[in-house]
């Protein structure tokens, strides 16, 4: 069996992350120097790209969006409850964030008030 045969036998499992470390290293050492095996790998990639869609669709909780944006964007902070007169322009900066019907419906309750900072949601 040639090295190409060996690699091409491993590739279907490799794209699924189903080979052990030795097999993975073997594939990854070989691919940069072999266009044929790289082409075979590319032909299996669409399967790995589609497999996530096979998971049964489940809606995440509505408040997760706030947590994700707060974690990802430094300027998104919890809005202090009862903060005096936050100006309309600050809320205007939220308009894009609030496009989603899910977010628009989301609780502007006391426990989940978030607002962008003064730079109107520019990431720093």
């Amino acid at each position: 069996m040639s090295i190409h045969d060996e690699i091409q036998e491993l590739i279907p499992a490799y794209v699924l992350d189903g080979v052990d470390d030795a097999g993975r290293k073997l594939v990854e050492r070989h691919l940069p120097q072999c266009d044929v095996c790289t082409g075979v790998l590319a032909s299996y990639r669409p399967i790995a790209d589609l497999l996530p869609f096979a998971a049964t669709p489940v809606e995440p909780p509505a408040d997760l969006k706030y947590r994700v944006l707060a974690a990802a964007l430094p300027k998104v902070q919890p809005r202090p409850v009862g903060a005096p007169g936050l100006i309309d322009s600050v809320f205007a900066g939220l308009s894009n964030l609030l496009r989603s019907p899910r977010l628009a419906r989301s609780p502007y309750s006391s426990s989940s008030r978030w607002v962008c900072g003064t730079s109107l949601c520019r990431i720093r």
Partner: protein, 188 residues
Amino acid sequence: MDNSVLADEEIIVRLRNGESWAMAVLYDRYARLVFSLALRILNDRGAAEETVQEVFVKVWKRSREFDAKRGKFSSWLTGIAHNHAIDEMRRRRVRPSASENDDDVMDAVQDEGPAPLDLALQSLERRRIVDALKAIPADQRRAIEMAYFEGLTQQEISDKLAQPLGTVKTRMRLGMQKLKTLLEERTT
């Protein structure tokens, strides 16, 4: 202009430019996919929520690493999500799920309802892969799902199923070959 109609690649450019609305658009577009994948792998809603958070933080921090010439954004994103969820599953050693008949998961499933364009496109992708998976023999499908959703190597699958390693390798290889053919046929 409605930013939600922009292509993923354009949104990533905006994200790199520091426009935070881009993150919200990507979240709206893909949070359900990432959450569903993480839940399938981890079988734990709390862990799946943490995965979503970690994945989108990574997208924000690593947005400059995305190269549209190397593939679609959704592939890059789900690759990050898959790696993170599998690592987390191994760390937590929660019981693997990977079964659509799992009561815990099925209880949480909500109706998809009328879908906007993004959800409709994702539904089409789901239909393609689900139909293809259904069309291959069950033992081949099981080997593929155990590798992808349970993070098991061929040797680990062999041990778990008490089947020879060669049998597992053959099932996985044949199943993947058939999936490839089926998906190519349905693309053309």
